[in-house]
């Protein structure tokens, strides 16, 4: 079974036409991979579908804008994958 990172990296590579081998767990989706907010909606859509969750993009964006969080916490891929795992676990716990 592929890891969350493998699945997310594949989504990013296919959605944004980024070579898969350039995507690492330490890649920052915005700063390193150059993904803009509109392209990230496509990634969020694919992640939502694949994992059966709803990435709280609005909440994350608000926290970053309010200085309560950094973009690294949500958009460095290893951190993004950790958030996805948390959301999947929370969904499983509430099911």
């Amino acid at each position: 079974m592929s890891t969350t990172f493998d699945q997310v990296a594949t989504i990013i590579a296919e959605t944004c036409d980024i070579p898969r081998d350039t995507i690492t767990p330490d890649s920052h989706a915005i700063d390193d991979l150059g993904i803009d907010s509109l392209d990230f909606l496509d990634i969020a859509f694919a992640i939502d579908k694949q994992f059966g969750i709803k990435l709280p993009l609005e909440k994350w964006t608000q926290e970053v804008n309010d200085g309560k969080a950094t973009t690294e916490q949500y958009f460095v891929l290893k951190n993004l994958c950790a958030r996805i795992d948390e959301l999947v676990a929370a969904k499983g716990a509430s099911a």
Partner: protein, 156 residues
């Protein structure tokens, strides 16, 4: 329809918030300055206005689903196919359904039929923003009234 004012939808035929689906109608005007250029001697609804029509049908659906708490703004046209021409006087029936509601964005699929025949379809992405000011909210309330938006779906 009033093409010059971007009033692309005449009336809501059915809004089913539970099924996240809407059907609306729009009659293409027989005369418009747009047809003077598109095209002389062969007036034809521009494809971009068909896309705009599908976006507005989707927008009304999203306003209903979101109970007018957010304003949908077209962000991306993922796919659009114009499968047949739409002419002045044609009555378009537009159907839109919600493909995905994300956090701060939504994706819809929309179709235009004339006399039951598919003329265009599209997959659209919208960002969902707070109403930026009371003017826009008031305008959208007026638009909702004009197209017969179900009043129970207007207020949260």
């Amino acid at each position: 329809m009033q093409l010059e004012y971007f009033h692309m939808i005449d009336r809501i035929v059915d809004l089913n918030v539970d099924e996240k689906r809407i059907v609306v109608e729009a009659t293409v005007p027989k005369e418009s300055t747009i047809f003077e250029g598109h095209f002389p001697g062969y007036p034809l609804m521009p494809g971009v206005l068909l896309i705009e029509s599908m976006a507005q049908a989707s927008g009304f659906l999203l306003l209903g689903v979101l109970k007018f708490e957010r304003m949908p703004i077209l962000a991306a046209v993922k796919e659009a196919k114009v499968r047949g021409s739409v002419f002045p006087g044609d009555v378009m029936t537009l159907e839109a359904s919600l493909a995905h509601e994300g956090s701060g964005y939504a994706m819809t699929e929309a179709k235009i039929r004339v006399d039951g025949k598919l003329r265009a379809n599209s997959a659209l992405t919208f960002t969902l923003i707070p109403f930026p000011n009371s003017d826009m909210r008031g305008y959208m309330d007026a638009v909702a009234k004009r197209v017969g938006f179900p009043q129970q779906a207007v207020s949260p």
